[in-house]
Symmetry: C2
Subunit: 213 residues, 2 copies
DNA sequence: GTAAAAGCCGAAGGATGATTCATATATCAC
DNA sequence: GTGATATATGAATCATCCTTCGGCTTTTAC
């Protein structure tokens, strides 16, 4: 799978008739299913098409190549997660530090867990594809939202808010990923639901007390 | 790259002469270099062999297939990191909670950063290969070490030590990964060095005060 | 009803790249 | 020095799979 300039990753054409939007949806879903059952290394255009109940030719009507398909699926998913974060940040703007922390964590977990197990499969896509600019875009939006949120806390002040923002984002994204990806068992879910809010709150409180050198 | 039973991932034969150990080392290093410069999707046996200065045939003398090569490189790296963690846990056994937290974080960061940027490239290997059992092995060793460490703290007690262990491990592994993989800039390193110890300490102190419901 | 547009099909072409093996060279044991 | 063993070579083989394209079917517009 050769690397391709990002502009070439866009869909080939957009569906006009209801028939074709159903096709595109089916292809998206089939992609995730194949990812889950076979892994990215054995995700072939034929397999995805077969799972979606369409022919390869049809797939190539909407996606110029395999990478564009994977890119599209990842893009859509990431966007939904970012929107969830942005909404939560807007909702908790001006709240007390502990409340905003809990709200942010809960929103992120809700978004991530809603799409299980598909969200796990997508981690592998990002690794295979050249997704640097997509990811960095998403992270930028996330950081902007979190930073605005933190700045609005009435009961906290941060010496270096950019660093704290980066840290909170890494804590959230990283810990949840690490907690899920090697076994998304009920125990893991319980751990995430109970401990991540605790971590985030404890860190923010500590950082707010001048913990940033 | 088809999935292959784990037993088949073992090296084909071990080097006997010094000449061949040098070859194997060169192949390992070349693998990481190709991973870094071309990405896993364009990591071909030919490319690795060329970078290592040997022929493909030679590679196949030591590794039954491409996956075994990747597996070996990942395995070796993970082992070094785990050993670093185990040593740190042993060293801080019985220390005060804050000290053990700082020691653990520092040891992990040292190990991870020592191999930059290679350690970043290896994240993508784990995603492509079937490494479930390798990873779960490594995590089990890590968790065992951390749990023993936490249990030995004289100034802390945890209601559910298994959960706290899982949480600390996820925090550490996840946050560091998230902090590095999308840009391993100096700023990211500073963030990790200053904020991760803070997070870990704050969480452990909070969890020790009956934070585990 | 019918022509144009949109959507769909899947066999065939072509490129890539993993793996083998017959052969050649280097090292070791004596 | 010599046979035995270990190591190295890389062209040829073989399998996989991405992508195209000419022709077919369905939908839409009038």
């Amino acid at each position: 799978m050769p690397v391709v300039p990002t502009d070439a990753l866009k869909p080939r054409k957009s569906p006009r008739q209801t028939r074709s939007t159903a096709t595109v949806t089916a292809i998206h879903e089939a992609t995730i299913q194949v990812l889950l059952s076979d892994g990215i290394a054995r995700l072939t255009t034929t397999r995805v098409a077969q799972r979606a109940g369409v022919s390869v030719g049809t797939m190539y009507q909407y996606f110029p190549h395999k990478q564009a398909l994977l890119y599209a699926v990842l893009d859509q998913y990431l966007d939904e997660v970012v929107v969830a974060i942005e909404e939560a940040c807007a909702r908790y703007k001006g709240a007390r530090l502990c409340d905003m922390s809990d709200g942010l964590v809960r929103a992120y977990l809700d978004a991530k867990l809603r799409y299980l197990p598909g969200s796990l499969a997508l981690y592998t896509v990002a690794a295979d594809l050249d997704t640097a600019s997509l990811i960095s875009d998403v992270l930028q939006r996330t950081d902007r939202a979190i930073e605005r949120l933190l700045a609005s806390a009435p009961d906290a002040g941060f010496a270096d808010i950019a660093t704290v923002t980066f840290a909170v984002r890494a804590l959230l994204v990283g810990t949840v990923r690490a907690g899920l990806e090697n076994d998304a068992s009920p125990a893991a879910l319980v751990m995430l639901r109970t401990q991540v809010p605790l971590m985030c709150r404890a860190y923010l409180v500590a950082a707010s007390r001048g913990g940033v050198a």
